[in-house]
Symmetry: C2
Subunit: 323 residues, 2 copies
DNA sequence: ATGAAAGCGCTAACAC
DNA sequence: GTGTTAGCGCTTTCAT
């Protein structure tokens, strides 16, 4: 890798001049510019971005902290972040936190040491002070909502009401909601949407709770179908849970959607890979990631965001698990 | 962020001494060490890794180039890379190449500018000179095999033979292989494994070709089942393809595995999310990622790897799509 | 219009 | 043992 010095020598000018043509700043004569360009070409010179970082205290990197890339919700998110980061000349550092506050803290320290320009984080907000104190631009995604950080979330409450409505409208009479873990904001909001809709329509309902995870859901489903034979409509708080219930139902010969209708939440890719395909309340995952990234870059550039909380509408996707 | 200078002043010593205690290099008296540590504590000092990078020409970052994190094969891989990178104090930069050589080149240039210490890449090897020339340590994963780069692959050929054997052994008489795109090494190897096994056993067979992608496979499957009613065993070159065929079969009321048995390849997570669960030739994805990362770090540290090509055995996982 | 030089934060000779 | 200083590659005043 050639350095700016070598380019300067090759071009017969000073490093300052080279720097000027590199950054299109200040005055530089046509002749100098030309010879510098030729030298750059000849030496195949590429500016060293570490040196730039040191001077500017920025790195053109953004840190992405997610619980686990292996969770089907996050690859699409990560892709969106990377795509728009790339467009604006940023590069993304991927971190799996496993929701572990220690890991999160460690990563944030790391980011500071590397002059990372900004952070996108998906985590529950228990320790949000950590992020706020850290001075570095941050936008939160999906799970944090109770803080003063700019946040992108989908409208979980409305999505849940819509799903509930759809189930009712499709003729289900005995509904159950399999909610996600208490204390996780999206799970709570979806739960609230479900019961508000049910109460408004004066229906009874069953509530069960499951982790956002296939195996747990399957286990729960085994019991569930034993004890709740009358249920004919299930609104699940995530696609993973829905797929768990669907699997168990299929295994038992329960006809989907004839006997039981199922709706998931998230709009994750594997909803289309199964048969019957999963009806779901889709979050615009890619769009959320892209928006979060654009917001972050805006903040990095010193601009204010118009809102603190961006709530994106969900979209009902009717597929094969509803009539 | 405090600097080493401030720490030095606070501790009443020179920056050199601070640097010495930071790096545990050279002599430093107990007293100095103590006061430096106190100062570090007090100022909450963390060394600036950009400055370190500039001096050392290393960054403790490794670049991970994959086609698309959204492809279910890669999240687990990325997770493995991140996990072991983390253990060794490295941080990972994620890049989606979409198999586009221009993007790959762009990323590699970026990496050089950032003093990225090494690269793990999954891509077809058409332009491997690019990487080899680049001087920076690289390990290739999965798809490249015809180059002089250290490479981690699974034993696609044997895996394919085993799958074929299993199908035959389970009583399938009319086999088809849905191969992946020609020219992609793993697809070619699996294809070869299939036909070698079939020829050895003197059976006829059908070959079709599909992209490694659900939609394409579904489309192909629609036709396939129209024209090949007699087929009772299908070995697919990837899980995505297998799932496509499974979906279409189920939709048509074909009984799986009674009428048709299906085996996929990859061992991707969603194989367990569907019903019936997919029988597949599993690649140890996580292990491959972890091994590649360890290898890379070894090379970064100037050691030689024992082999150039690490071929990891696959594992037959019998689930619900075979008898 | 251009060059000299200081400085970003750190490390490693080298001198004492 | 410890401090001084040059230098990693770049940007940007400040002279000229």
């Amino acid at each position: 890798m050639a350095t700016i010095k070598e380019v300067a020598k090759e071009a017969g000018v000073s490093v300052a001049t080279v720097s000027r043509v590199l950054n299109k700043s200040g005055y530089v004569s046509k002749e100098s510019a030309a010879s510098v360009k030729k030298a750059i070409e000849k030496l195949n010179y590429q500016p060293n971005s570490v040196a730039r970082s040191l001077y500017h205290k920025t790195s053109n990197m953004i840190g992405l902290i997610i619980p686990d890339i292996t969770n089907p919700f996050f690859p699409e998110l990560a892709r969106a972040v990377e795509d728009v980061a790339m467009i604006y000349g940023y590069t993304v550092v991927l971190c799996n936190s496993d929701q572990d506050p220690d890991k999160e803290k460690k990563y944030i320290d790391l980011f500071k040491q590397k002059y990372v320009d900004g952070i996108i984080i998906t985590a529950h907000g228990s320790n949000s002070e950590l992020y706020i104190d850290s001075k570095i631009p941050i936008v939160a995604l999906d799970r944090i909502s109770d803080s003063s950080l700019p946040t992108v979330v989908s409208n979980n409450y409305d999505g849940a009401r819509n799903a509930t409505k759809l189930l009712l409208q499709k003729g289900a009479k005995n509904l159950a909601h399999i909610r996600g873990p208490q204390g996780i904001t999206p799970a709570d909001d979806r739960y609230q949407g479900f019961i508000d809709e049910m109460k408004e329509q004066h229906f009874d309902y069953i509530i069960e709770e499951s982790a956002f995870e296939l195996k747990a859901a399957e286990k729960l489903a085994e019991n569930f179908f034993n004890t709740h034979a009358q249920v004919d409509g299930i609104f699940c708080s995530s696609d993973a849970i829905a797929v768990g219930f669907l699997k168990v139902a299929l295994k038992r010969g329960i006809k989907i959607p004839q006997d039981v209708q199922i709706i998931g939440f998230d709009g994750v890719a594997f909803g289309e890979m199964i048969y019957p395909e999963l009806t779901t309340v889709a979050q615009p995952i890619y769009d959320m990631g892209a928006l979060a990234t654009r917001l972050l870059i805006k903040i990095i550039n010193g601009k204010e965001t118009e809102q603190l909380k961006y709530e994106i509408p969900t979209k009902m996707i009717e597929r094969g698990t509803t009539k």
